[in-house]
Symmetry: C3
Subunit: 135 residues, 3 copies
């Protein structure tokens, strides 16, 4: 089971980032290379000046009438889980170059856990023969 697991990571709420990080950590523990492309709100979440911000939870957890058991996000250790995933195996995190442009960000404004920037085509080529998730 050495196929690459790729994640096009779009969402920037703490719960979805945590879900992505746990899946990345699980794949890394199974010796699978993990290839992550940060787009839009997920990219925004890795901005150095917001890396400790409260990112909230997905709309599922806040819609009227819902009674979600998870209230806050202070206890959702999404960034720590990404760090752990990197320690467990080969996990590379790329900033999507197109999203950098849309958000008006420079790669230098991101947390150093982000390895580099890359385009969609580079991401898809690295994903070849493996599985891709959009989160």
């Amino acid at each position: 089971m050495s196929d690459t697991l790729s994640i096009a990571l779009f969402s920037g709420t703490a719960d979805k980032l945590h879900a992505a990080a746990t899946i990345a950590a699980g794949a890394a523990a199974l010796d699978r290379p993990v290839n992550i492309l940060l787009q839009y709100w997920a990219l925004d979440a890795f901005r150095l000046d917001r890396i400790e911000a409260d990112l909230g939870v997905a709309y599922d957890g806040t819609a009227e009438g819902s009674t979600p058991p998870v209230k806050g996000t202070a206890k959702i250790p999404w960034l720590e889980t990404f760090r752990m995933a990197k320690e467990l195996g080969s996990v590379t995190i790329h900033a999507c170059s197109g999203s950098l442009e849309v958000l008006g960000l420079d790669a230098g404004e991101l947390d150093p856990i982000v390895d580099d920037s890359a385009g969609i085509a580079t991401f898809l080529m690295a994903a070849e023969d493996g599985q891709i998730l959009f989160i």
Copy 2:
């Protein structure tokens, strides 16, 4: 076409649960094994004490300015579609053990349509050589 179709099911709104269930039913009808892991809000949706609750629709359908043709969720038969998928083929539904812990739930509090609990690594191993969706 016998490869496993795996779904990391995170969202708990009625429309996304229904989309997941219809995809599961379609794969089961094609004789593909279906492997579902319930995380966060999807796991919450399968709580026995909320299984009949109105789960709302995704933010896409409620954002200001939108005029979605689907207003309520009473008519979205997501649970019935999961039941039908199970009748059509080999569909197994696992509660994510990590999410059970985050939500403070016990597997015994879930609807019996949930088969058991499992970790991410077990889920990924069962997904080997197949396709994975994150919903």
Copy 3:
């Protein structure tokens, strides 16, 4: 790298539609066939009478406490990017027949960029041996 890239496109906000379109364009540029199934809110977004509407951005970008750098959606060229993807390679866009029924729509009410309508099983068969994303 000639495997089909399939997208079950559910979300109807401008940012997620744009992410889907850029992934489709990237795959088409790599000579991969792209197979898209429009469900629920994504299907609603392709209605001829709403094709120019402001579709908003995902909840991640509007949640209380967030400070997203992308404010409006007027500049998110999701439809133009889908058109470009079609020019780059083999990209087919199907309206999900089940979603047409749920939304009470006829395929004739959709923008002509939508090629035809298809069921889940047809979509899954076309996705065989390739990768599938749910967006």
